[in-house]
């Protein structure tokens, strides 16, 4: 099974993706695999702007009819934006998980922490293992 895993992103075992922005912030969302597993998404809740997150904090929720999933902060930092457009159109997470379906943006406390995340190949391995 092939996965849609853009090579320019970083990933977590808990199925978040992270994009580094030119201004030093990062954008975070859930992977194509995760949105598939959840099914039609009906609601998303993003963290409040200004909130300080520790790595691994459950800070967002993505909900389908049959499941609700916490989304975790991949790295520590301060929330600088949430994707307000998801309020009216949570299905963007299904249709464009790496684009319009982003969840929130973060100013990382330590940019080096990003180095500890998975690359596309590493995440693909995680998916392959869990499929067994």
């Amino acid at each position: 099974m092939s996965h849609n895993l853009p090579a320019d992103l970083r990933y977590t075992k808990s199925h978040e993706w992270v994009r580094q922005n030119p201004d030093g912030t990062v954008t975070i969302g859930i992977t194509d695999h995760a949105q598939h597993a959840l099914g039609d998404i009906v609601f998303a809740e993003t963290p409040e702007v200004g909130r300080e997150l520790a790595a691994g904090d459950a800070c967002a929720v993505v909900e389908s009819v049959k499941a609700a999933s916490d989304v975790y902060a991949p790295v520590a930092g301060r929330v600088v934006a949430g994707n307000g457009a998801l309020g009216d159109a949570p299905e963007k997470i299904n249709t464009d998980p790496y684009g319009d379906g982003w969840l929130w943006q973060l100013a990382p406390a330590d940019a080096a922490a990003l180095g500890g995340l998975l690359d596309a190949g590493g995440y693909e391995k995680v998916l392959a293992e869990s499929a067994e």
Binding site: D40, V42, F43, S64, V65
Partner: protein
Amino acid sequence: MHASTGAPAAPREPTIFELSRPGRRAEAQMPPRPTSNAVPESLRRRRRPMLPEVSELQAVRHYTRLSQLNFSIDTHFYPLGSCTMKYNPRGCNQYAMLPEFLARHPLAPESQGQGFLACMYELQEMLKEVTGMRGVSLTPMAGAQGEFAGVAMIRAYHHARGDHARNEIIVPEAAHGTNPATATMCGMKVIEIPVNADGDCDIEALRKVVGPRTAGIMLTNPSTLGVFERGIAHLRALVHDAGGLLYYDGANLNAILGKVRPGDMGFDVIHMNLHKTFSTPHGGGGPGAGAVGVGERLLPYLPIPVVGRDGERYRYLDERDLPASIGRLSGFMGNAGVLLRAYIYMRMVGREGMQRIGEFATLNANYLLARFKQEGFDPAYPHRRATHEFILTMKHAARDLGTTAMDFAKRLLDFGYHAPTTYFPLLVPECLLIEPTETEAKEALDGFVEAMVAIRKEATEDPARLKGAPYTLPVRRLDDVRAAKNLDLTWKPLA
């Protein structure tokens, strides 16, 4: 057995609000309007609530018609696994609704309640006997509240011993979702352990997680997988030796009624679902009753009130009698009217009948399972005896035909059978959890098997037919995504 096809849809029953006309009312049901209104101006309601204005006949007809859109035990075979949809004897309802019982205020003096309290006391005694526990409190209002009481008692027990480190509750992954939800509600941390391929708890996994932080373990036995937990004695020793307590989720008590008692298995606390095992009605989603039973160690912590007896007189035991109680879980003593129904049921079934319940519930489940095996369906645990329920997995149909367990469930409705429980427990793919109960006759079971066989034939010949089911009910399959996205939770008049 013929499923009708494409019958014309019945006209939609409008909401009661659409039947409303300004000024219409059921005059016989209201007192005359008083002349005074002593409510201070600042606290008065300014706009009337939008309640319907209908005649008594309109209301009666509307809700009677709505009732006719339901499946129920009284109208359909209802093999809903883990729910024990057995016959609810009408006599239980009639005698629980005697006018004196209905009119009795919960705070009326005990001298004006000796009849009611005698029933409650005897019910406690009978529940102690069938479960092998030392004390019973009837107050929890549903299974989930019984679970809450149970975990709260475990917590109180450890705290009373000065042991505040025990904040973990172990739950098998197959457990009902209420178990972990309850543990969280009690401020506990949930530790899940796996079950092995035969459906028994993974003892090695348990051994790894028990320890000085273990408050207790929550178990259903027979488990939600429809099999008896054979390692129970071993499991008990492991948890007790580590200082934890054992909690019995009584969801499946019907299977072992009169055969095995949770107290004899070594459980410290249990809740019973009186609306399952003791046949009080489900009422379209309650009321339930989740009485709890405890062993010696947890006696002081029972939720209050409990009914006690001083000589010939019955009275409530409260904070003064049980100062270490976990307290009150309801405004009075829980779902008293439900408890009366359970009492009447137990008296009608009696000593020997109680044992036959477990026997015939098990006979019916094993017969159904045998018939399904004969017809080539796949049990999830083919090498195990069924208890009062069992699981079929439809994974082969899903893989080969693209028809899911849900498609079978929906098509069964067209054949006049309520669907089994679908997609629970989560760890068996495409599962149907089937519980026939002891009150169904062999003919009903045979009919159900025939319907499943016919549906499987349809699935091979025309899978799309299943995907579109049901066809003969008041509505076809509903759009759950739309329901959750465009929330329409109250009726609003057209502007």
